[in-house]
Symmetry: none
Subunit: 290 residues, 2 copies
DNA sequence: AGAATTCTGTAATAAATATATCAAGACGGT
DNA sequence: ACCGTCTTGATATATTTATTACAGAATTCT
């Protein structure tokens, strides 16, 4: 490991640029469950990566091996060496970095946050929240603050593709009262409020609540004051070894909600997405994904 | 995993008593560096253990496998499963919800993404990227696309508190060329480009590159075309059981970068943050955090 | 839009790997 | 010490697995 310095995984990644489409596809498949898949027969690997047999043979040679058997043999050597190291890298995330490296410490914390957050969430409440968000009979308002507006925007962008009748309000903008003019009873508010809870957000929530809207609050473990008038509160652990709080767990939750809502509305969503797809094609904003 | 519960290593050890002398010798050789040696060709294993080829074949059958290939295949399965669970099979994340619940399935994927992403990142490159971002001698541009501008904004908001000389450019805006007028050599660009790679982003990157700026690319596992002119590319796994991709892993990386940059610049940052603090107090935007 | 180059998969060929057969050797029992 | 049974390895065969050659498809460049 130290003598060669370069693991096969490294070599594959370095070569990634000089590989062709099919070869890259194969490379990713190998890295997908490394090193197990590379230790099977060539044909199995080819099938798994959905490329042809010769493609595998060619790439392996491109990487500098004489043939597939030599490649496998090196892989086994690597595996042997890895198992030999007693406490080896298994408890670090970024291999090649010491466990005190910020990458490992930060990731540890986030995983821990995810564990705690998910462990304390009531699945029923989450499902209810998703149903409220999915309900197209009522308008959906998404509200974020100074930092959290990025999360709000993220949710908004996806919801836009899934359902009509949505508005993104940034509570720090002083234009927000205008948005609240048309709020009707049973309209739904998804409100993000993390510590350094914002007065504007609280006021906004109060008005919405007064008008009979239902509030879903996404907050931190200490809970924004908004939670007192929220239908459903989802709290997230956000502490990390940093001067700042982490939104990673919250984003995970938001994304899960997006997936769940999409499933609930699939019938309607499908059409919307196809239309969107078409419009994107016309604007040529994106490259064709190969 | 759940059906047999017994690893091959276990099976060998249990059988140890019922094996003959040569077979036992072979068994120990297999266990010696398990599982690597069992994954090579039968003949190599035989030679390594100093027994004959048929002895290997016979023992493998005695262990209940149909033949050597089946034995190997099981070994690989085991290896695959082993590397998959770095985090102790926390069987479900959201307790009280079945493992098929979207909360659990989605979280599983994200954890997996984190593991892969971190595993493939080169800590040195990450550190270099952080240093570039921390360098206040040059202007820092942060660029996001249709969806990724939310991540870009998140990074921008934090960097704003840490250092001066930064600009957030949204590549979907058609005003972006104006921002590039003043780019100087060695200015730094952090560019987010995830699949459905955007043509605007690529063009922007090209211009920046031409002007001698250094590009740090944050992309997905298939890598945006921008990576060809990027100084440093950080790729993230983004696949989840959803019609959409996940940005959770990417956010984790961004947050880690924020923490790292903050550490690098702590001397200067401290003052900035105190000033910011004061200004927030004056505007009364936030409630006092108790 | 057409030519040249590169990429990719099918099919044939070559190599290797695994299994089966059999005879020699080791061991234990009488 | 001899016979029978069990163990072991050498050899031959069968099977799988890798490599090579080639042609069609895709891509790039002019």
């Amino acid at each position: 490991m130290s003598d060669t310095a370069l693991t096969i995984s490294d070599r594959i990644q370095q070569a990634l640029d000089h590989l062709t489409r099919a070869e890259r596809q194969l490379a990713h498949s190998i890295l997908e469950n490394y090193p197990a898949s590379g230790l099977g027969p060539l044909s199995a690997l080819a099938k798994d990566a959905e490329v042809s047999v010769p493609t595998v043979a060619r790439m392996v040679q491109k990487l500098g091996f004489k043939g597939y058997p030599e490649f496998q043999s090196e892989l086994r050597k690597e595996l042997k060496a890895k198992v030999k190291n007693p406490i080896a890298k298994h408890d670090t995330w970024a291999e090649g970095a010491p466990s005190e490296h910020i990458l490992n410490r930060f990731t540890d914390s986030v995983i821990d946050n995810i564990k705690h957050t998910l462990g304390q969430i009531e699945p029923d409440l989450f499902d209810q929240a998703c149903e409220l968000v999915a309900d197209t009979d009522h308008h959906l308002y998404i509200v974020g603050g100074r930092i959290t507006h990025t999360l709000a925007e993220y949710l908004f962008l996806h919801m836009q593709a899934i359902r009509p009748n949505i508005t993104h309000i940034q509570s720090t903008s002083n234009a927000w009262p205008h948005y609240l003019l048309d709020v009707k009873p049973n309209d739904v508010f998804v409100i993000f409020d993390m510590r350094r809870y914002e007065n504007n957000t609280l006021k906004l929530a109060e008005i919405a609540h007064t008008k009979g809207a239902k509030v879903i609050l996404i907050t931190d473990q200490w809970r924004s004051p908004v939670h007192q008038l929220a239908e459903i509160s989802l709290s997230n652990r956000i502490v990390v070894p940093s001067a700042w709080d982490s939104a990673a767990t919250t984003l995970l939750l938001v994304e899960t909600m997006i997936a769940a809502v999409q499933n609930l509305n699939w019938g309607d969503t499908k059409d919307r997405m196809e239309q969107l797809e078409e419009m994107f094609d016309q604007t040529k904003l994106f490259r064709k994904f190969t």
